[in-house]
Structures are given as structure tokens and as C-alpha cells.
């Protein structure tokens, strides 16, 4: 009986369903880890949220360069303007039920929003919250698609994205980090799969989310070469970078009067902070509510480098070139402009990391399996 049942419902539907559920849970676990570090809503004592980071982002008063990363905030503001009042009212009642029996707030984070401010702010917060989660979910799915595109065996293709998304909260600080990861993976997938001009609108959106996407464009060159000629690739990459540049210049003009600077030179800090014993060994960070060594301390860094080194030779030349271009762009930028210890700023390497993990898994699974005991399954 079971046999007929399982044959009439096709395996494809079944496994898509299972993968879908698995990816939702992995993304949600990662998102939850991020939530326990990043206070979406942080009202001060007098119920004032004007100074909260996300509110300054929504109002466009945050400091540069953070204020340039404005995609989800613009979406939230637009949705807030475009959504009819009664729809918002219905949503409001769903999140903050009025009858006392189930008096609790339906999304725990929103309980910290002070009651007088709820009507004005909950909707924009809700959009940001949903988009960040969707960013995490889209990252997992697109990373899976990227792995499949490289014809990696199924176990590696499914597990590697889950590993990357589970590690992400150790490094991620802002909601736009998740969206960035999703865009990076989508760009690689587009480059491998679709006609290159599909990348143009993607580049605009991604640069709107974070200006770093401009620097990601050259790393797509070896991947684009799989589908199009050298000459076309040489046209495509500058054109894509140009689109990113335009969006960035627009953002600069839009927030020209904000405090802060377009970049924060932090070159010397790296020397000051990277060579102390304390910094190398014992910096502790909290992720998932558990204290763990910060990812920039020596042991995790060595493990990461080891991960790359082991499979370097196994990876296809296109991936190696992609990785080399990424590090030669991202490395200097990191040293010049990024806060020491923030590996999040090495984000251009995230797809390379994903593929390195995937090839490690492949190699690992191919080595001999443990000897079965008794009756094997």
C-alpha cells in the first residue's frame, strides 16, 4: 500500500517540500541567532526610539557610510506609504491581539516596541523584519542553486549552504548583511545560468543595498566566461560596475549632508589591534546566546584558511580565479577601511567560502565510510 502511495505522489514534490522546510528552518535558526545580537528595536527609557539605529536608517539620518545601505529601508518606507490604513490595522491586530486571553505579542521582538509608538512604527519594522528573514532564506536557496550549478554532489550542495548560513550570525551585524549575501549568491547564479544582462537590474538593486557590490563585479568575470566570449565579458563587467557606480553616486548625493564619512580609514587600527596576544587568542564573542571565540581570533582563522588550502587544487580554475580576484580586491579594502576583527567585511569572499566548504564536503564524503557494524541499513 505504501508503495503505491509513494509512487503516485512523485518524489520530486516530496523532496522539494522537504528541502523547502529544511531551508526555512536553517535560515530561521540563523536569523534568530542574529536577532539575539542585533536589537531591531531599542527604545531608550523615555520611550524615545529616535536614536535607535534602524529608526535613523528609516528616517535617513544615520551616519555615512551606513546610510548608503538603504534598500530595505526604502522598501519599508515605500510600503508604509503605499499600504492602505485598514490593511495595516488588520496586521496590527494580528501582531498585537486586543483581547486579554492571548494578550501576548505574536512576534516576541515586537513586545519591546513601547505601546504609544506601536501604531506609527510597527509596520515599517515588520517589513524590515520580514525582509531580513527573507534575505536569509533567499541566501540559502540561491547558495544551493550555485552549488548545483557547479555539479557538486547532492549532499555537499545541500549541506554547504546550511553551514554557511549557520556560521553567518557570528559575523553579521546589520540586516543588510543577509540581503548582501543573497545578492552575492544570486549574482553568481545568474552569471552561471542566465544571459548576462539579467545581472544589470540585479546589480542596481544590490548596490542600493550595499556599495560593496561594485567591487564584486570583477570577480564575476571568470564565471561569465563559461557562457560568453572574452570580448562580451570585457563589456559586461565594466557595464555592471558602471550601473553599481551610478546607484552609489545617487546615494552619495542623496545623503551628502549626513554626518560621518563615505569611508572610515582604519588602516593603523589593524596594526594596533591585530598583534596583541589577547586579540589573537582570547577575544570572546557571543553568538546564539553562547560565548565563543571571536571568528577573527587565531584558531578559527587557521581553520578557515585550512578549509581553503585543502581544496584549492580541487576547485575548477574559474572558481580559483574568482577567489583570487575577490581576495585581491577585498583584502586591501579590508585593511584600509574596515574595522579590525570584522570578517563580515570580507563578504566578497562568501561565495568562495561556500564553494570551498562544498568541495571539502565532497572530498570528505568520498573518502572511505566507517565500517558497518551488524546489519547495515
Amino acid at each position: 500500500m505504501w508503495k503505491s502511495l509513494s509512487s503516485c505522489l512523485s518524489s520530486k514534490v516530496y523532496f522539494s517540500l522537504c528541502y523547502g522546510v529544511l531551508f526555512v528552518f536553517a535560515a530561521a535558526a540563523s536569523f534568530n541567532g542574529f536577532l539575539s545580537k542585533f536589537p531591531f528595536i531599542e527604545p531608550s527609557k523615555d520611550n524615545n526610539i529616535e536614536s535607535s539605529f534602524e529608526v535613523t536608517m528609516l528616517l535617513g539620518t544615520a551616519e555615512r557610510p551606513y546610510v548608503y545601505r538603504h534598500l530595505i529601508e526604502d522598501v519599508a518606507n515605500f510600503a508604509n506609504w503605499a499600504t492602505p490604513k485598514n490593511v495595516k490595522e488588520v496586521l496590527y491586530r494580528m501582531i498585537f491581539p486586543s483581547f486579554p486571553k492571548s494578550g501576548s505579542v505574536r512576534i516576541a521582538v515586537f513586545a519591546t516596541l513601547p505601546p504609544p509608538l506601536r501604531h506609527d512604527w510597527f509596520y515599517r519594522y515588520l517589513i524590515l523584519y520580514a525582509l531580513t528573514f527573507l534575505g536569509a532564506l533567499a541566501s540559502v536557496v540561491t547558495m544551493y542553486l550555485v552549488c548545483r550549478e557547479f555539479a557538486l554532489p547532492e549532499p555537499a550542495a545541500v549541506l554547504a549552504p546550511i553551514i554557511v548560513i549557520l556560521i553567518a550570525p557570528t559575523a553579521y551585524v546589520f540586516p543588510y548583511d543577509y540581503i548582501e549575501l543573497a545578492f552575492l549568491a544570486t549574482a553568481v547564479w545568474f552569471a552561471l545560468r542566465l544571459d548576462w544582462w539579467w545581472l544589470l537590474p540585479l546589480a542596481a538593486l544590490a548596490a542600493w543595498n550595499k556599495e560593496s557590490f561594485f567591487f564584486f563585479m570583477p570577480t564575476l568575470y571568470p564565471l561569465l566566461r563559461r557562457r560568453i566570449s572574452r570580448r562580451m565579458s570585457c563589456v559586461a563587467v565594466p557595464l555592471l560596475a558602471f550601473v553599481c557606480g551610478l546607484v552609489y553616486l545617487y546615494m552619495r548625493a542623496r545623503f551628502a549632508n549626513n554626518a560621518g564619512g563615505s569611508v572610515i580609514p582604519q588602516f593603523l587600527d589593524h596594526f594596533r589591534t591585530h598583534f596583541g596576544i589577547h586579540d589573537l587568542l582570547s577575544r570572546v564573542d557571543e553568538s546564539y546566546g553562547v560565548p565563543i571565540p571571536e571568528i577573527s581570533t587565531l584558531p578559527p582563522t587557521v581553520l578557515l584558511l585550512w578549509t581553503f588550502a585543502r581544496v584549492w587544487k580541487r576547485m575548477p580554475p574559474a572558481v580559483r580565479q574568482h577567489g583570487l580576484i575577490a581576495i585581491s580586491i577585498n583584502g586591501p579594502l579590508y585593511l584600509l577601511f574596515c574595522t579590525p576583527h570584522e570578517y563580515r567585511d570580507l563578504s566578497l569572499l562568501s561565495i568562495f567560502l561556500l564553494l570551498a566548504i562544498a568541495w571539502n564536503l565532497t572530498e570528505w564524503a568520498e573518502r572511505s565510510a566507517p565500517a558497518p557494524v551488524d546489519r547495515a541499513v
Partner: protein, 376 residues
């Protein structure tokens, strides 16, 4: 070239171990964090009465029966607190809360919110219980890995199935002792498959100390033990382990004769009400990992679970099937009689079955397509 040298210096084995430990650490932490964020050490609310199983209720033993019987972790926390010198505890407190005053900021964000964690009396025990719960999650994921290995599953599945099961745990579990229950059940199965049988006796005592359900889990080990031992030894192992569990349970009962409520609550009427309640079956939803999801007991997740079981059943080894049947025969009547409707957490004796179902499904999913040749 450098990479080749590095590969020579360090063995692959070391790398594998480091990576698996790191990966399992993150997965357990993610699941633990999910459970802490949804339930914390649960508190009573209108929506969800928890019969005094808050942190204080557990530590002081003032929770209602039968929750008060789940003593292993609270007893550990109390014991650690008594043997640790006050000086050390004070030092730790100052390290956690460097700034004195009303607006204490804590070193561990997860500790910042509750007034319990800030009280000098409870702070240390809170840390110990918190850590113990996390370590239980870690133990659970490694135990699941061991069981998959002992059954000779393919390597990728052995690595992957525990991660999947672990990520789903906050969806199912509620209380601080649930992770440890999962860990000890799984560990018991591994011991039955791999170690000398008498190791089961101390484990059974610990298991019953953590939750009385272990007493009922002991008979389900029979098929695993029978693979390796004679009938006589198997009966002896099960008898002794069961006796150890029962002794511990009776001892713990005698410790809390005055606690309110009954040792088991008859709740079978609830199941009928549950089945007749369309709202419960279709739209009931809970927050997991900060996301609203349909509750596990609603119709769609239940169907997916059943589908998962149905596809795997025929392919599981005979001993796993017998184990499952025994567990189901014991667990379902108990569930119907004494457990809250729709609380699949209480079907915990089937956890090894669920793990192996997931593992088998993964095996099929991962072998669906033959590994293609590397591209470009």
C-alpha cells in the same frame, strides 16, 4: 606549493574532527538559542500555564508534580553552587555585570533581560543551568551522530541527519530537561549497539533522574541488545536498567511528597476536544526562531511527518523497526492517557526512530542523482 605542504603537515583526520566539532557546536547553539528565545526557562502566562516550571520552580523544587520530578539538571546546578566558593561566584558576577546600579549591562546579552539573572542569589545557578542545557544539546547531537555511525549509514548522512533533527528541535521541545532526555535516549541506543551492556545501568539511573520516561524507554532497547547478546543477558540488562530507573524514580517521588498536583494527569478527553477543534488543527501557530509557523500538531506538519515515516519504514533495519514498534506500543497509550493534546514532544520515545527516518530519507534524497562529473 604551500597548500600541498599544509596538507602534508596536518592529517585529514584532525581537520575532519575539528570541522565536525565546530559544525555541531554551531548547530547545537542555534537550536539551544531557538529554544531559549521561545521559552527561556518557561514562565507562567495566561496562554501557556506551566505549573511552576520556571527557573525558580525548578531550582527550589517548588514546581508542581510531575514536573518537579525532573531533577537531574536542577540538582546539578544546586550542587555546583554549593561546592563553588562564594569568592569565585562573586568574581563571576562582577565579570558578568561590570557596572553597578540599576542599569546593569551584562557580558552575555542573553542574560540581560531577566531580574532573576541579576539577583545575587540566583545568578550563579542560572548560569550553571543555562550551560547544562546547552551542553545537553551538544551531547544530543553527538549521540545522534554516534547512532548513525553505529548503524553504518553513509558518511554524508551520518554528518547531516543529526543537524537536521537538531535544527527542528525548538519546534518540538519546551522545557530545560528536554534536550537531555533526547541526548540520553539516543546515547542509550548507541550503548546498546556498541558498548558493554552494563554501561546501560548507570545511564538508566541518570535518565530517570532527568525524566521518569526513561523507565519506559528501557524495554525498547531489547532489539538492539538482542543483536549482540544472548536472550538471558538481554533480559538481565533490561531488568537491571529498569530496576535502576525505577529506584531513582521512587526515590525522587519520596523527596517531593508534598508538591501539589498528581504524579500523572489524566488528559485523554483533551485529545477528542483537540480533534474536534478546527482552529487547533488548521490555524494554530507558534513562534519558532522568531518566525511564526504553523504548530507542529496542525494538519500539514503532521502529514509531512507521516509521509516521512511512510517512505522510510520499509527500508529501516529490522531491529530499528522492532524498536519503534515497542516504543510506539508503550508511548502512544501513555500519550493518549496522560499527555496534553497535540504535544508531540511527549512522543519523545520515538526520537531515535525519527532520527533514522530522517537519515534514511536523506540517504535517498542524496543518492537520487548519481554524482555528476565536476564541471569546467
Amino acid at each position: 606549493m604551500l597548500p600541498a605542504k599544509i596538507e602534508l603537515i596536518f592529517s585529514s583526520r584532525l581537520f575532519d574532527c575539528l570541522c565536525i566539532v565546530a559544525l555541531y557546536f554551531f548547530t547545537a547553539a542555534a537550536a539551544f538559542n531557538g529554544l531559549q528565545d521561545t521559552n527561556g526557562f518557561v514562565n507562567d502566562t495566561d496562554q501557556y500555564p506551566t505549573y511552576g516550571v520556571s527557573f525558580i520552580g525548578a531550582i527550589t523544587g517548588t514546581a508542581q508534580k510531575p514536573f518537579v520530578f525532573r531533577r537531574l539538571l536542577p540538582d546539578t546546578a544546586n550542587w555546583v553552587a554549593t561546592v563553588t566558593p562564594q569568592r569565585v561566584q562573586d568574581g563571576l558576577y562582577r565579570w558578568f555585570y561590570p557596572i553597578e546600579g540599576p542599569d546593569l549591562s551584562s557580558k552575555i546579552l542573553a542574560f540581560g533581560h531577566s531580574s532573576t539573572t541579576r539577583s545575587r542569589t540566583w545568578f550563579f545557578r542560572y548560569i550553571v543551568l543555562y550551560l547544562c542545557e546547552f551542553l545537553s544539546a551538544l551531547l544530543a547531537i553527538f549521540a545522534m551522530h554516534l547512532v548513525c555511525r553505529a548503524l553504518g549509514l553513509p558518511r554524508a548522512v551520518t554528518l547531516f541527519a543529526p543537524i537536521v533533527v537538531m535544527l527542528f528541535m525548538p519546534y518540538v521541545l519546551v522545557f530545560y530537561y528536554d534536550f537531555l532526555e533526547l541526548a540520553l535516549f539516543t546515547l542509550a541506543v548507541w550503548m546498546a549497539l556498541r558498548t558493554s551492556w552494563w554501561w546501560l545501568v548507570p545511564l538508566a539511573a541518570l535518565g530517570a533522574w532527568n525524566k521518569e520516561s526513561f523507565l519506559f524507554f528501557v524495554p525498547t532497547l531489547y532489539p538492539f541488545l538482542r543483536q549482540r547478546f544472548s536472550r538471558g543477558i538481554t533480559y538481565a540488562a533490561i531488568g537491571l536498567s529498569g530496576a535502576a530507573s525505577a529506584t531513582v524514580y521512587l526515590y525522587i517521588r519520596s523527596r517531593f511528597p508534598q508538591s501539589p498536583n498528581a504524579s500523572a494527569w489524566l488528559q485523554w478527553q483533551g485529545h477528542f476536544a483537540h480533534l474536534g477543534n478546527l482552529h487547533e488543527l488548521l490555524v494554530y501557530n507558534i513562534e519558532v526562531y522568531g518566525i511564526r509557523l504553523p504548530g507542529l500538531s496542525t494538519i500539514w506538519p503532521t502529514l509531512l511527518l507521516l509521509w516521512l515515516f511512510a517512505r522510510a519504514w520499509r527500508h529501516l533495519p529490522a531491529m530499528v523497526r522492532s524498536h519503534t514498534l515497542i516504543a510506539a506500543v508503550i508511548n502512544f497509550p501513555l500519550y493518549l492517557l496522560f499527555c496534553g493534546a497535540g504535544e508531540y514532544r511527549n512522543l519523545s520515545m520515538l526520537c531515535v526512530f525519527v532520527l533514522l527516518t530522517v537519515a534514511w530519507n536523506l540517504k535517498t534524497a542524496l543518492e537520487r542523482e548519481p554524482p555528476p562529473s565536476p564541471a569546467s
